[in-house]
């Protein structure tokens, strides 16, 4: 095997094995930074040996044994007083060779879960949580993370170093939280995964509308979490939501890179496999028999769109009800605006307009172009063309998307046309 191909293979194996490796090592040495170093040392040794010896039959176990041996080496060295790293010395007393032996087998799922709770810990900023999670649980390089977020690599590297330091300094335990804390902490984990997905899905910055790597990583991590936290309905709800949204990933951009809205997407191109997986995940959430949480509700809404063959064929009554439940559970002006659209589709534009008008002056929507855009649309449907034109023009002024501006101005012009007295 050539060095280059051994290297690529080792990379692939690293990606498959490193989360489990780091999770188990963290339990042993109780320091996630040190655990990562040990795992990486094992990888370096593999990169030296494997081109010569060939890839071992069970590369994961090989890496684990090698890392474990490194841990014991360092431990012994520290014991005889050769305190190479201060950090190590601090932790040397915390684990014994028996710990390390015990940690090699057994269920790694629990360790992975502990690791997710660690990297998504509220002691870290949202940015740090995402970076550390991508690094330790998805096995991405700092370079890959930097490219996904369109920031410089040193920034990400720093962010990760600082995050690890913060976890140490605050003595964050490596454990799955219990009782009341579990709910909040799980919400934080799901938030990190969904942030990751959304960053990929709707690329808040940069030229690319979607950055598939982040979506895929989020989806993969969600699927992993669904297996190690099977009793949590919202985990399945989030997976369902991501599967169904990802099914439309390829129909969201036109050839020129312009976004295509849900109503204009070619539904024949939606990925049926992902939709099916989304429905299955939603079913898993429902089967747990608890009230649907925000992710499950959003997934249920996404499912209504996914099973409809057209906008007209969509079950808007059900969507309106789901938005109402969502709004009750976690109110946000954007959810209300979506509810307004669903209500107008289900019961007529006048009812939608009532909800939109209640949002008037809402501070968080002041620069949100979809508010006047939706309002203009509803007014137009009600035949109030003069007001509609004004709202559509206002929305056109506010949007940053050139094509959307054209579209809005076109509809405003249509409204004005209707206002002209008939020439017949």
């Amino acid at each position: 095997m050539s060095r280059a191909s051994a290297h690529r293979t080792a990379d692939a194996i690293w990606r498959m094995e490193s989360p489990k490796l780091i999770a188990s090592l963290t339990r042993m040495v109780r320091d996630v930074g040190l655990a990562e170093d040990l795992a990486q040392d094992a990888l370096v040794i593999a990169l030296e040996r494997w081109p010569v010896t060939g890839i071992p039959d069970n590369p994961g176990a090989w890496l684990m044994t090698t890392a474990k041996r490194r841990a014991i080496d360092l431990l012994r060295r520290n014991k005889v007083g050769e305190r190479k790293h201060e950090e190590l010395a601090r932790h040397a007393a915390l684990y014994t060779e028996a710990d390390i032996d015990g940690a090699i087998d057994g269920e790694v799922g629990d360790d992975l879960l502990r690791l997710i709770f660690l990297t998504c810990h509220p002691a870290l900023s949202a940015e740090a949580r995402v970076a550390l999670t991508l690094r330790l649980l998805c096995g991405l390089t700092t370079d890959e993370i930097a490219r996904s977020y369109l920031v410089a690599e040193p920034t990400i590297a720093q962010r990760i170093v600082r995050a690890k330091r913060t976890l140490n300094a605050k003595g964050v335990p490596f454990e799955v939280p219990e009782g009341k804390e579990l709910k909040e902490r799980l919400a934080a984990v799901l938030e990190v995964i969904y942030l990751m997905f959304n960053e990929g899905y709707s690329a808040t910055s940069g030229e690319n509308w979607t950055r598939p790597l982040l979506c895929q990583e989020a989806l993969r991590l969600g699927r992993v979490l669904a297996e190690i936290a099977q009793d949590e309905p919202e985990v399945h709800g989030l997976v369902a939501l991501m599967e169904i949204q990802a099914s439309r990933l390829k129909t969201r951009i036109g050839a020129g890179g312009a976004p295509i809205l849900l109503k204009d997407q070619n539904r024949a191109l939606w990925d049926r496999l992902l939709i099916r997986r989304g429905f299955a995940a939603l079913e898993r959430s429902r089967r747990l028999g608890r009230a649907l949480g925000p992710y499950s509700l959003q997934a249920a809404i996404a499912a209504c769109h996914a099973e409809a063959t057209s906008v007209e064929d969509t079950n808007w009554v059900r969507i309106a009800a789901l938005y109402e439940a969502l709004s009750t559970l976690s109110y946000s002006p954007i959810v209300e605006l979506n509810r307004a659209v669903a209500v107008s589709m289900a019961f007529g534009p006048a009812f939608g307009l009532q909800i939109v008008d209640a949002l008037h002056g809402e501070p968080s929507l002041l620069s949100y172009h979809l508010l006047p855009s939706v309002r203009g649309d509803l007014l137009m449907k009600l035949g109030r063309y003069g007001e509609a034109a004004g709202e559509l023009e206002r929305a056109a002024d506010m949007t940053r998307n050139e094509r959307e501006r054209e579209l809005l101005l076109g509809r405003a012009a249509e409204c004005k046309e209707k206002l002209k007295p008939s020439t017949e």
Binding site: M16, L221, R223, V224, I228
Partner: protein, 144 residues
């Protein structure tokens, strides 16, 4: 990227012989690993070709020919597939190498094929050019 791991048919699978319990257990364990790693999208086993139908087009532009199974050349038939979503070609190979020998008596063969992405087709300059031309045409029609 998506890969399909295609398990080729053997004389046993074509004869409808069920795999040993040991192999079934090993396969189940392997599938669990795929699920836990978050890479499994779908997997199915296929019935022998004796229950299959083949539709061919021997004449260009002619009528299709419908033939009932079984079909003879076992090596060219498939007995099952597993669809995975991975980050690299090497990762797909690693997963395929971890699959147990699918038949266990010397005829086992797994073929890995990458699935086309819509983006692959979209990034093709020809398709993009056609799309652009179509757009322009629509624009002109609208103006006319």
């Amino acid at each position: 990227m998506r890969f399909m791991m295609i398990v080729k048919a053997t004389s046993d699978s074509e004869a409808g012989a069920m795999p040993s319990q040991e192999l079934i257990d090993a396969m189940q364990k392997y599938n669990e690993e795929l699920v836990k790693a978050g890479v499994l999208l779908a997997a199915d086993g296929l019935q022998p070709s004796s229950n299959g139908i083949r539709i061919s087009y021997p004449e260009p532009g002619g009528k299709p020919k419908v033939i009932d199974g079984p079909f003879t050349e076992a090596k060219e038939l498939i007995a099952g597939y597993t669809l995975i979503e991975v980050k690299s070609r090497e990762e797909a190979v690693e997963w395929a190498l971890r699959m147990p020998d699918p038949h266990g008596f010397g005829q086992g063969e797994i073929e890995l094929r990458q699935v086309f992405d819509v983006e692959d087709l979209m990034e093709d300059p020809d398709t993009l050019a056609k799309e652009a031309a179509l757009r322009k045409q629509v624009e002109q029609q609208r103006k006319a």
